[in-house]
Amino acid sequence: MAATGAATTQEVGMRYLLLIYGDESRFAQMSEAETQADMGQWFEYDAAIKAAGASPGGEALQPTATATSVRDDNGDPLVTDGPFAETREQLAGYYMLDVENLDEAIKWAHRCPAAKGGTVELRPIQEFEQG
């Protein structure tokens, strides 16, 4: 299923989720001026990726302190405070990518401000056949 899906979608392009990871504590320690400069870089990146038609959109996330995890517990929701896993770098945002292939996705990941000091992960979207 996914096998032939990917083969044909490669000609019309690939979709990826670009996952942005960074150290939250670093953002918290930024001065006003540093935050301003950081935001400037993100606005620039956002404008560029949209102008190129490479992304239908993306969002920044509130810090993991605001996260809520939910699991099913015998029919009841088991709700816990915090993210699924404690990690050195935390998921801070994402973009959807709509590009030709992995090389192009890597180009956008490299341009992403989070690639400096953080990590950008690319995950191909699993395409399902319709009908």
């Binding site: 032939t4 990917a6 083969a7 690939m14 292939n101 996705a105």
Partner: protein, 443 residues
């Protein structure tokens, strides 16, 4: 399948199939028909996979399967009907038909495959039927896909050997000293990643070419060294692996003739491989460069390598690391006797190499060259400074080189201690025997 790898690197046209293959088929006493089919397929494998993979939208898995199918047909027919006059075209046509047949069969269940079959038919429709010169060579895109940095090096190496080199799983397992199941598993995972993650089967854009080519050459050099300095396996297999790496590097150099580093790497491999018969004594003992019988060096290989060294050194300034390493090997190759080696020239080349490739191993090799040019004391001072840094403390060759320089200055007790440390760290059996013998001589 499991046919033996070619014994000798043929020095025919760059990417062309070995013409001896076809002649061989008509001479039943020289080689079995199955062997000839296997060799012809290995030479043409990557070319056919590359074209089909493009036609199949990057699905290297299907492309490989189709060429493998064509191989089965050839094994059945060629020994009976003779080798077709245009084997590359035959392989491509047969593989294409097989791929379309398979897709059609699956299309009975899924419309999507039939779309794919039409696309492939479209993509390969204009391919020539008979004229082999007209078959496009798209292997470069395949090489770059197999050596994509998104793949782990453990995946890049077997994938390149399989898809570009046409080696079978048992052959790759033998070459890399890995269990067949491990190779098979790595190949399955790697092909899946190529397909699902959208790794393009294409040349990288010009601004990325140099970096990506670096990965390709590193993979090829790794394969070569696997053959050159393998810690186990029999000597014939190791020579074959090195020859296979040379064959693939020749393909990359042939496809990118104006890039200096493929020329440099090809020259480096040829110069090392030229010494293969002189590296082992009659009893299988390791023979150091200075003690080698230079009449046993492969002059044909050296003659082929030297112009490549010049080309690699002049195509780009400053030269790259493979070009410089090849230039160093060329100085050795051109010395009629060990004593006539131009060590000053080698020190200069190591100076330049140290700027491109500032690693402790390069500094160690430079120190050894300085010892040869200016005497053991000068070299020993450099090695001791390097040893104090600690980066190479676990590297047996640092202690072996130190031991040798101490021995040359008659400091036998210190030399013995250094040989003992080197022996502790060495894993290659021939090297261990050599070090043990030297240690004994110091006693």
């Amino acid at each position: 399948v499991g046919a033996p790898l070619p014994r000798r690197e043929g020095r025919h046209g760059r990417a062309a199939p070995d013409p001896g293959v076809r002649a061989g088929l008509n001479a039943p006493f020289r080689t079995s028909a199955a062997d000839a089919v296997a060799r012809c397929f290995r030479a043409e494998f990557g070319r056919a996979v590359a074209i089909l993979a493009r036609g199949l939208g990057g699905d290297v898995d299907r492309a490989e399967e189709a060429v493998q199918d064509a191989y089965a047909v050839a094994l059945d027919r060629w020994p009976r009907d003779g080798v077709p006059s245009t084997p590359a075209a035959w392989i491509l046509t047969t593989a294409k038909r097989r791929a379309i047949d398979r897709l059609r069969r699956e299309a009975a269940l899924r419309e999507k495959q039939s779309q794919l079959a039409r696309e492939l038919e479209e993509a390969v429709r204009d391919l020539p039927g008979e004229d082999e010169e007209m078959i496009p060579d798209e292997r470069l895109g395949l090489v770059f896909a197999c050596c994509h940095p998104a793949l782990a090096v453990e995946a890049q190496v077997p994938l390149t050997l399989r898809l570009v080199g046409g080696l079978t799983v048992p052959e790759i397992a033998r070459a890399l000293l890995l269990p067949e199941a491990t190779v098979k598993q790595r190949l399955v995972r790697a092909k899946k990643k190529v397909r699902l993650s959208g790794i393009p089967v294409a040349e990288p854009p010009p601004d990325a070419l140099e970096d990506r080519l670096g990965v390709v050459l590193a993979v090829l050099y790794l394969v070569f060294n696997e053959g050159y300095a393998a810690t186990g396996g029999d000597a014939l297999v190791r020579d074959d692996v090195a020859a296979e790496a040379i064959r693939l590097t020749r393909v990359v150099h042939g496809l990118l003739p104006n890039e200096p580093e493929p020329a440099g790497l090809l020259a480096l491999m040829l110069l090392h491989h030229a010494r293969r018969d002189a590296r082992a004594g009659a009893d299988g003992e390791l023979v150091l460069l200075e003690a080698q019988d230079r009449s046993r060096w492969d002059r044909g290989m050296i003659d082929e390598a030297l112009p490549l060294v010049d080309q690699a050194l002049t195509l780009r300034r400053p030269p790259g690391s493979y070009a410089l390493q090849a230039a160093i090997a060329a100085v050795h190759a051109q010395a009629p006797r060990a004593a006539a080696t131009d060590w000053r020239q080698i020190v200069l080349l190591y100076d330049e190499l140290g700027r491109v490739l500032p690693t402790p191993v390069v500094r160690l090799n430079r120190a050894v060259a300085v010892a040869m040019a200016d005497g053991p004391a000068a070299g020993l001072a450099l090695i001791d400074a390097l040893a104090d840094g600690g980066a190479l403390d676990d590297y047996h060759l640092l202690h072996a080189a130190r031991a040798d320089l101490l021995r040359r200055q008659d400091r036998m007790a210190e030399a013995a201690a250094a040989y003992a440390r080197a022996l502790e760290l060495a894993t290659n059996a021939a090297e261990r025997r050599f070090l043990a013998r030297r240690l004994e001589e110091c006693g």
